[in-house]
C-alpha cells in the first residue's frame, strides 16, 4: 500500500500537467480573488460585483477569500487532476504494466486516492499562502491593519477547503474509472460543474421547488454552503448558504466517500482492457 502511494506520488510530482494545473489554479485565484477586485477598488470602477470593498481583501478575510474559488474553477481544476491521475492509466494502457508488478487493483487505486488527497491539500495550502501574500501586500499598500484570522479559523478553513477539493478530485477519479478515458470524463465533469450546476441554481431552482430541494443534496451547493459558512464572499459564483455549514460538511464528506467507493467497486469488477 505504501509502495503504491509512493509510486503514485512520484508520478504526480514528475508529471508536468500537475504543475501546470497548480500554476493555473494559483493564477486564477490571485487574479479573480485579489487582482480584479483590487484594481476595481483602486480605479473606482462601477459595475457588477463591485460591492467588494477594500476591507474584504485584507488578511482578516483570508479564509473566506481562499475558499471562494473552490465551488467552481478551483474545484474544476482539481477534478481534472483526478481524471488525469486515474484516466491516464487507461489512456496510456499502463494499468497492465502496473498490475503486472503485483499490487492488487484496490492497492493501486487507494494509492492514487491518497496521492490525490495529498495533491488537494497542496493546492489548498498554496491558495492560502498566495492569498496571505496578496492580502498582506494590499494591506501594506493601503496602510491597513494586518489582522489575521486566528489559528482555529485558519485550520478549519484549510480543512474545509481540503475536504471540498478532495471530493472534486474523487469525482474526477470515479468518472475516469467509469468511462475508462481522460477526455470524456474531463468534458462531462466540467459540463456538470460549470454549466449544469449553475443552470440548476439560476434557472431551475427558482422555478421548481423540488429542484431547489434536490439541490440541497448535490455536491456543488453543499460545497458552496460550507464555504459560505466559513466566510466566502456571497457574490462568488457557487457560494450560497443553501444549507447549514455542519450539514454541508457531512454531505461533502459523504460524496467523497461515495465517489471513492464507487470508483473502487467499478475498478475491481471490470476487466482491464
Amino acid at each position: 500500500m505504501s509502495g503504491s502511494y509512493r509510486a503514485e506520488l512520484a508520478k504526480l510530482v514528475r508529471r508536468p500537467a500537475s504543475w501546470l494545473l497548480l500554476a493555473i489554479t494559483l493564477v486564477l485565484s490571485l487574479v479573480f480573488t485579489y487582482l480584479f477586485p483590487y484594481a476595481s477598488i483602486a480605479g473606482g470602477t462601477d459595475g457588477p460585483n463591485t460591492d467588494r470593498t477594500l476591507p474584504m481583501l485584507l488578511p482578516e478575510h483570508l479564509v473566506g477569500n481562499s475558499l471562494g474559488g473552490l465551488p467552481v474553477f478551483l474545484g474544476a481544476i482539481v477534478l481534472i487532476l483526478g481524471v488525469l491521475t486515474v484516466g491516464g492509466e487507461y489512456g496510456w494502457g499502463t494499468w497492465k504494466t502496473v498490475l503486472s508488478q503485483g499490487p492488487s487493483r484496490l492497492e493501486v487505486y487507494a494509492g492514487k486516492l491518497l496521492a490525490l488527497a495529498a495533491a488537494a491539500l497542496v493546492v489548498v495550502l498554496s491558495v492560502f499562502v498566495l492569498g496571505a501574500v496578496a492580502a498582506a501586500l494590499i494591506a501594506a499598500a493601503e496602510s491597513q491593519p494586518m489582522t489575521w484570522p486566528d489559528a482555529g479559523d485558519l485550520l478549519t478553513g484549510i480543512g474545509a477547503g481540503w475536504l471540498i477539493a478532495t471530493m472534486w478530485a474523487m469525482l474526477g477519479a470515479v468518472l475516469a474509472v467509469a468511462l475508462r478515458a481522460v477526455a470524456l470524463p474531463v468534458g462531462l465533469g466540467l459540463v456538470w460543474m460549470l454549466a449544469v450546476q449553475n443552470l440548476l441554481a439560476a434557472i431551475a431552482a427558482p422555478l421548481l421547488d423540488w429542484v431547489a430541494q434536490v439541490q440541497k443534496g448535490l455536491p456543488g451547493p453543499n460545497a458552496g454552503s460550507l464555504e459560505a459558512a466559513l466566510g466566502a464572499p456571497g457574490d462568488t459564483p457557487g457560494v450560497a448558504a443553501s444549507v447549514g455549514g455542519g450539514q454541508a460538511a457531512l454531505v461533502v464528506a459523504a460524496y467523497l466517500v461515495a465517489f471513492a467507493a464507487l470508483g473502487g467497486l467499478l475498478l475491481q469488477r471490470r476487466d482491464i482492457g
Binding site: R6, W95, L99, V108
Partner: protein
C-alpha cells in the same frame, strides 16, 4: 508435477463471442513454453486471464499454485500485449516507479536495464524511445522482481535481428537459470529455437501441445527420381503403399531416415534413376498451418 501455470476449463466470452474456450494449459517448472496461435486466436486474452487482468467466464487459473486474483503476483513477471509506460518519465524513472509497486529496491532497476542493454539510454524520456527500446524496457520491467515465472507476450516485436537474437539468448539464459518462461509468439522460428514445449491455440481452443519434435512428428525421406511412377510403385512394394505419397514431383516416404542407403540401392536396382534422396522433416510452420487448418475445420 510442479506446474507454475495451470488452467482448467478456462473460458472467456464477450457477449456472443467466445474468445477462449475450455482451455487446459499446463506449463511445467523450469521449461520454456511457447504459446502459438494466429492473430485473434485468444493468446493475449488467455495471458490477461492468467494475470487477473481479465476475469474468466468459467474455469480456473493457478499461477505458482494460487489464483492470480487472490493477492499479489509474487514471483511473476509479465509483458502483455506490447510495452506501456509513462511518456513523461525516462526509462529509468519508469522502472523506479514500477519498482515501488513491486516492492523491490532501486538496485534491481540498474540490473535489469543492463540485462536488456538499455543503460545508455535509460535517462531519455520514454516518449522518445524507438519501438525496440520500448520493447526492451517492457522486458526489463517484467524482470524487476527477479521472477520465478515470466510471461512474455510477443517479446521480440519491434526488435531488429540483433535484438531478436539477444532476446532469445536472454530467454534461454533465464530458462537455464530455473525460471519458467511462457512466451507467446507468432514467429515460429523463434519458438522453434527457444522453446522446450509448444501449445497451439486456434479460435480459443488448445489444439495441440507437445515438444517441437513431437509436433513435427517422425522424420521421413524425400526422393526425386525418374520415372516417378516406377519409383512410387517400387517404393510401395518395399515399405508399403500407405507410407508413400507423391508430393510436388517427388516421393515422400514415412520411413526411418536411416534406411536411405538401402532404399537407394533398391530403387537403383529396379532401374529407377535417383536424383535426390534426403531426410525430410516438417518444419514448425508446416505443422502450425496444418494444425490451424485442422483446428478451424474441427471448430466448424
Amino acid at each position: 508435477m510442479n506446474l507454475p501455470v495451470r488452467t482448467q476449463g478456462l473460458t472467456k466470452r464477450y457477449g456472443g463471442l467466445t474468445a477462449v474456450r475450455d482451455l487446459d494449459l499446463a506449463v511445467r517448472a523450469g521449461e520454456i513454453y511457447g504459446f502459438l496461435g494466429p492473430n485473434g486466436a485468444g493468446k493475449t486474452t488467455t495471458l490477461r486471464m492468467l494475470l487477473g487482468l481479465v476475469r474468466p467466464t468459467a474455469g480456473t487459473v493457478q499461477l505458482l499454485g494460487r489464483p492470480p486474483a487472490a493477492g499479489r503476483l509474487g514471483g511473476v513477471g509479465a509483458l502483455i500485449e506490447g510495452p506501456a509506460f509513462y511518456p513523461y518519465l525516462s526509462g529509468r524513472e519508469n522502472l523506479r516507479v514500477l519498482a515501488r509497486y513491486a516492492g523491490v529496491g532501486p538496485d534491481r532497476v540498474a540490473l535489469v536495464l543492463d540485462l536488456v542493454d538499455l543503460t545508455d539510454r535509460a535517462g531519455d524520456r520514454y516518449a522518445g524511445y524507438s519501438l525496440g527500446m520500448k520493447q526492451r524496457l517492457g522486458v526489463a520491467a517484467a524482470l524487476l522482481k527477479d521472477p520465478r515465472l515470466l510471461i512474455l507476450d510477443e517479446p521480440t516485436n519491434g526488435l531488429d535481428p540483433a535484438g531478436m537474437a539477444d532476446m532469445r539468448t536472454l530467454i534461454r539464459r533465464l530458462g537455464a537459470g530455473g525460471c519458467t518462461v511462457l512466451v507467446s509468439s507468432h514467429l515460429l522460428g523463434e519458438v522453434e529455437q527457444v522453446c522446450d514445449r509448444v501449445g497451439v491455440i486456434s479460435r480459443g481452443r488448445l489444439i495441440a501441445e507437445g515438444s517441437v519434435a513431437e509436433l513435427r512428428g517422425a522424420a521421413g525421406l524425400r526422393v526425386l527420381a525418374d520415372p516417378l511412377d516406377a519409383a512410387a510403385a517400387r517404393a510401395g512394394e518395399l515399405v508399403g503403399p500407405e507410407r508413400v505419397r507423391v508430393v510436388d514431383g517427388g516421393l515422400e516416404l514415412a520411413v526411418e531416415p536411416e534406411r536411405a542407403a538401402w532404399l537407394n540401392a533398391e530403387l537403383v536396382g529396379a532401374g529407377v534413376a535417383v536424383r535426390e534422396l534426403r531426410r525430410r522433416e516438417r518444419d514448425l510452420e508446416q505443422v502450425f498451418f496444418d494444425l490451424i487448418e485442422k483446428g478451424t475445420t474441427d471448430v466448424r
